[in-house]
Amino acid sequence: MSAVVSVDLLTLAPVLAPAAGAAAVLVADAAVPRLRRTHLVLAVVALALGAAGTIGGLGAAAGDVRRTLCLPGHPDVCLYTAGPAASALQLAALLGAVVTVLLAWPGELEAPRGRTAVTVSLVLAATTGATAVAAARDLGSWLVALELATLPTIGLVALRGVRAAISGAVALLTTSLVSFAMLALAAACWYTATASPLLAPDAALAANTDPARRAVLVLAVVLFVAGIGFKLSLVPFHAWTPEAYDGGSLPVTAFLAGASKVAALAALLVVVRAITPLGAPVLTAVAVVAALSMTLGNVMALRQDTVLRLLAWSTVSQAGWVVLPLATVSAGAVEASTAYLLAYVVATLTVFAVVAAVAQLRGTRAARTLTAYRGLLRDRPGLAVALGLGLLSLAGLPPGILGLVAKVVALRPVVAGQLWLLALVAAANAVLGVAVYLRWLRVLLERPEGAIAPAARRAHPAVLLAVGLGALALVLTSAAPQLVLHLVGG
């Protein structure tokens, strides 16, 4: 029996475009081997088409959502449902992937060289998963999309081929398997408890009234949160993050920090929408995870001397900030969380773009250490300003007003819910975060120690384009933070 009555291809564009792009890249590679630029162009075009597809859903009024794949006889029950927040997450994932492709443009950052088709198609496949999971409303597509967003990243990390990459990929693989097992179990528990394949609040509420089903439901929720915790690098499920960040090539790490995180948060939000009515125990779990992530992430980031590990731990702590609003029952929690994630993605990708540019200027190996950034403000003022804006946005200090407003947005529901303890932990972590990012910023301002032998005279235009786009986005959204908040329908 055909279960689906409506298929609206245009609505599905954010998912279909990267998927088609991945197929096109593979076909092109089969037809004409050893192409390079074609694949990159194909990827950017596909991602741009996908991004264009999200525009219709952005900033819509609450309740005005794009849906398709609706069930016959139930026009309200649609397997693909993208509200403003979901559309914004899709846009973030797609733009994050664009930045990854731009960073992979100069061959020397891509590893291994000459495997462009593979890299690009894996990026596109993972992006497809990320955009799909944001709009998935049933267990099946949710689980498949989330794994589609995860599995290609293992390959991407492993592709670099060096020892660190293999161990990073193994760490990622192991945690992905565990995480998948948990999520599969969670899905099974959910179905057992609610008898509904849909991740919908009314199903959860119905199950909540019956004590026997309630226990199974709570188990499902715990497993959901734990399984996604792995993907979002939340403490205590974060251990793979530094390994994988350090192991992968730069563009791949940027992808892990950007689009992958979007996918994980999107997956979490789908579940959170369904379970918030359950109330206190779930929220407490989220609050504890958020507080732990922030604290451990910041404390560990303070001790790192390589920038990728620093960024990895910074991701762990920012992930805590991202889920912070979800610890409340406030109506705007999902929007707040999404807005914080968007701010994080823009700032982090800008930082990664600068790291890639520095990798070209001062050598790939050198760019991984903090000392390579000494005197950057003097040598490369443009790069240094972009990096400074990105770091200050992550720290939440002016001139990175985007990050500051994001912190306000994330704290607001917490304060409104009178979770004073959580708010104070967040405040302490805001300070720790300042220490983390100023440590890097201080290096930029220092005088260069002697002349640093440049590895190249100038960075690749594609990388500089990524830096420029990131910096421009930061400046615009810092002047008018409403741009970001409007996207998520706040």
Partner: protein
């Protein structure tokens, strides 16, 4: 007129950002040309501020509608003296840097950071929206951090890193706590408009919530003030910072803390503030004693003035805590007075430190009255004002603060406040002790070697204007008090009872 109001912020923002960026793009910028540019920008800003203070234009338009944050700017009697002080000192620090050029990094970045600090302070005093207040409050952090960590004391890089790190982390903690307080306030009152919040007087917010909000705001802002025992960031920061940085820190940035307490806590949650007021007063008085005692034994002159700031700000806290209109008047006047006096003293000591090579009081040096009478005279005036000599600017704020504490707002624990007032008087005796100790060591005496260049040119101009201000405001305190009086009488805690 709205254009003038916006220009007050746009001019230092554009000029400051331009200078920060230009230092790198243009390899060799003539230091004097950079100074001239910064001077022009700061003078223009000052003129714009004067026009704004006289004409009192207002601006109110949405900025982040999702959060209900509005770009709401305005001037009233409370902010007007602080705006003028900030803008005037903005000119003074740039002018003074002509005779004492910055060391340690690009000259343009230095002036750019000065202008951005000024921008943050002006914005803090102009905004009428609680969340925007937080944004403005944070703006000064990074440029001041750069000023201390890059342009601070050349002798000791480790101390520079420590001082700048402490400054930024303490103040970031303070402002984040303040943010939580602001968000709680905005959530409870349903508006972020400071004018509406002040008009509401905390109506509809229950006493417990008011107290929680007041605690968060007073602790958060108290770090910036700074109040004992969270003042420990201040002495190293003021000691290590370059002269311009010390002046802006002491004379402008500390004022943002007390101003914030008046605007955010006293005006909006008076009942909650009344509950924390005795603790605030006690912290202030402990600060007065602690600062005074530290000054008696401190041998680094710059650090000594930093500790004296802790003592002076203690009087401000005491005045605020009394909750009466007189107390608030005292606090706001002492705020301005400390701004003028500490600016004068930091200019003088910064100049002396660069001439002496250190600011150690134990080194035997030529008596200032013999070798550089102008610097010496200014120093006498500065310390005389600091010890609260009647007729100078330091007297009124502290006298009125003690007076207000003796007869606090109805409902306050009178005995506690009277004890606090009595102890604060002891603090003025300590101030006399350390001021005279410094003057005896560096000003009096008859050694006339080694010779010391006296103040001349821009330095003399800056010092002379500040000396005139110290005397002028001391003789005519009514100029400031009249400006603040109408607005203060509306927001004093006692007004609700």
């Amino acid at each position: 007129m709205v254009a003038v109001l916006l220009a007050v912020l746009v001019v230092p923002a554009v000029a400051g950002t331009g200078l920060v960026l230009a230092g790198r793009a243009v390899r060799a910028v003539d230091p004097l040309r950079a100074n001239a540019f910064a001077l022009a920008a700061s003078v223009l800003t000052f003129l714009l501020v004067v026009v704004t203070v006289v004409a009192r234009p207002g601006l109110d338009r949405p900025w982040v509608p999702s959060l209900g944050v509005r770009l709401h700017l305005g001037v009233d009697g409370i902010s007007a003296p602080l705006l003028l002080l900030t803008a005037a000192l903005g000119v003074a620090v740039v002018l003074h840097a002509r005779s004492q050029p910055p060391e340690g990094g690009s000259v343009t970045t230095f002036y750019g950071c000065l202008l951005i600090v000024e921008l943050g302070a002006l914005a803090t005093f102009l905004v009428r929206d609680a969340v925007l207040f937080f944004v403005a409050f944070e703006t000064v952090l990074v440029p001041m951090w750069v000023l201390i960590s890059r342009y601070g004391d050349r002798h000791d890089p480790a101390a520079r890193a420590d001082a700048s790190g402490r400054f930024v982390l303490y103040t970031a903690l303070g402002s984040t706590l303040m943010l939580i307080g602001i968000l709680a306030l905005v959530h409870a009152a349903g508006t972020a408009d400071l004018t509406a919040l002040a008009a509401g007087r905390g109506a509809g917010i229950d006493r417990g919530t008011q107290t929680a909000i007041a605690v968060l705001l007073v602790v958060g802002l108290g770090i910036k003030v700074p109040l004992f025992p969270v003042h420990t960031w201040l002495p190293p920061a003021h000691t290590i910072a370059p002269t311009a940085g010390s002046v802006l820190l002491a004379a402008v940035l500390l004022k943002m803390g007390t101003y914030g307490i008046v605007r955010l806590a006293v005006a909006t949650v008076p009942q909650g503030f009344a509950a924390v007021a005795p603790v605030l007063g006690a912290a202030g008085v402990v600060g007065i004693l602690w600062g005074g005692l530290a000054c008696l034994v401190e041998n680094d002159l710059k650090r000594l003035i930093a500790y004296s700031s802790v003592a002076h700000m203690g009087f401000v806290a005491l005045g605020l805590a009394s909750g009466t209109a007189t107390g608030l008047q005292a606090a706001l006047f002492a705020n301005v007075a400390h701004g003028v006096v500490s600016a004068l003293l930091f200019f003088l000591v910064g100049g002396l430190k660069s001439r002496w090579g250190s600011a150690d009081l134990r080194v035997a040096r030529a008596a200032l009255r013999e070798v550089s009478p102008r610097l010496g005279f200014a120093l006498v005036v500065g310390f005389a004002a600091s010890l609260g000599l009647p007729g100078l600017v330091g007297f009124w704020g502290e006298f009125l603060a003690v007076y207000a504490a003796w007869s606090p707002a109805v409902g306050s624990p009178v005995t506690v406040f009277r004890v606090l007032a009595a102890v604060a008087v002891v603090g003025t005796a300590l101030a006399a002790g350390y001021s005279l100790r410094v003057l005896r060591t560096v000003w009096a005496g008859d050694r006339d070697a080694p010779a010391l260049a006296d103040a001349r040119g821009p330095e003399l101009a800056v010092v002379a204007v500040l000396v005139v201000a110290v005397v002028g405001l001391g003789v005519l305190p009514g100029t400031v008090l009249r400006s603040t009086a109408p607005d203060v009488s509306r927001i004093a805690v006692e007004a609700v009872r």
